[in-house]
Symmetry: D2
Subunit: 149 residues, 4 copies
Amino acid sequence: MTNIKELVDFPIIWSHPVQWGEQDAFGHVNGTVYFRWFENARIDYMNRIDSEVTMHAGRIGPILATIKCDYKRQLKYPDTVHLGTRVSKIGRTSFQLTHAVFSEQHQAVAATGDSTIVILDYDSGIPQRVPDSIRTQIAAMQSSPNQNE
Amino acid sequence: MTNIKELVDFPIIWSHPVQWGEQDAFGHVNGTVYFRWFENARIDYMNRIDSEVTMHAGRIGPILATIKCDYKRQLKYPDTVHLGTRVSKIGRTSFQLTHAVFSEQHQAVAATGDSTIVILDYDSGIPQRVPDSIRTQIAAMQSSPNQNE
Amino acid sequence: MTNIKELVDFPIIWSHPVQWGEQDAFGHVNGTVYFRWFENARIDYMNRIDSEVTMHAGRIGPILATIKCDYKRQLKYPDTVHLGTRVSKIGRTSFQLTHAVFSEQHQAVAATGDSTIVILDYDSGIPQRVPDSIRTQIAAMQSSPNQNE
Amino acid sequence: MTNIKELVDFPIIWSHPVQWGEQDAFGHVNGTVYFRWFENARIDYMNRIDSEVTMHAGRIGPILATIKCDYKRQLKYPDTVHLGTRVSKIGRTSFQLTHAVFSEQHQAVAATGDSTIVILDYDSGIPQRVPDSIRTQIAAMQSSPNQNE
């Protein structure tokens, strides 16, 4: 599936076949699983930014400050979900990623999510300005055509 | 720990020793785990309401519509967390639970969360009015003293 | 990767990109995760058998009786694992699946596993003879060339 | 529950209320969850041994080589499980832990498991002799009365 019109505004798409074991005793994908998917999509997005600050390698790096999910439709196995991810806000020391979870079975967006990432000095705990090199790369990704895998 | 002043406004407390395996490769409790904890706390709260509508047994029942977490401190094993839960809003067809995650190691609230539960007719997909019996029981729980386990 | 010589004896291959969150605080894929992978590979294998008995739909169906994993190499993100699955034993009321976990990063088998599945009458709890139609289909799969996805 | 006769031969007991989300779409505790429980019980056992070698702090430490589970009864929420753990074999470079999962609802052992731990030089990958101090402490634990929490 390389052309999902519902995800056209999302430059990065991470795809995942629903695992049977991701369902809970109600027979639907458990609500916590979406956050594992968001994590995967977030890491996939971050890995495309070439910066020491997004690498968790040094003293300054990203930290997840807040995350939310709005559930719209219940998912079941088998299905494949495609998570579109884009930067929806960028502030002085943080930026927000917005995710849309497109379900092949439903042919619709089944959930959306927002994650706020803060750039932190891990030692002092003080938020740091998002470096210009990251801003530039985000801007470039956002304006590039949808890169489905 | 039966007297946590940070949780005094939360009528229900669910406690949980952090599992080593709840940590991820950064050596902290993974962000998705808090949602499993919220789920446990939510079920614990719901189980205290005596109503067919909270039981998932019939055609009308609760559904999680949205959930969010604000992370304030990073947690590690070993620790024990105490999740306070209270109803923070109650609308016509939904109500909101607010959770606070108190960490024994930090002696502080390490995260907070909000879950919105809608009462749904599972067949039609139409939200239903929160029954009066549930409103009454929530009100009674909210006004009762903190029930630490 | 459609030709993995280490998996040549395994008719069915299920592939999976390692998720970052599958790692634990030691920075390796957690030991419990292999069992989720085995579950996925097992379901994938079972779904290729056309029989009511493998469907969990009726009174008689499969149940996992025992499962083990031998760990040979530690895995990390990023990597992709390919799980080969074959029936390694077939008895009167049960059969055994053997899995091999091939790691692209290691270019080697990183773990092996065995699962014993019993065909059970869920009501009486009495094991049932593995139906001939299942035996025939397993034999056909085993003798067919490796079906990489 | 401090006197479980089925666990009388297990010096260490780790107890855990079944979490609702540990159930899968069949409405039973998922088979992978037992391995998380074994992990918790194993860590609990290891933490009682005072040795640098069990700490993962230095160059020599424990590694899980193989693990298996025999499922005897299906578990559901709500229930509380008590995992008895004892050393069932001790070799030159490894030892085996045996776990029994006692279910309060069933009043019976619902599963058993075995884990083999090797003492490894992480750098060279060469197994090391289990130090005498560990052997002594294991012997002392094994001969002491059941220490239920």
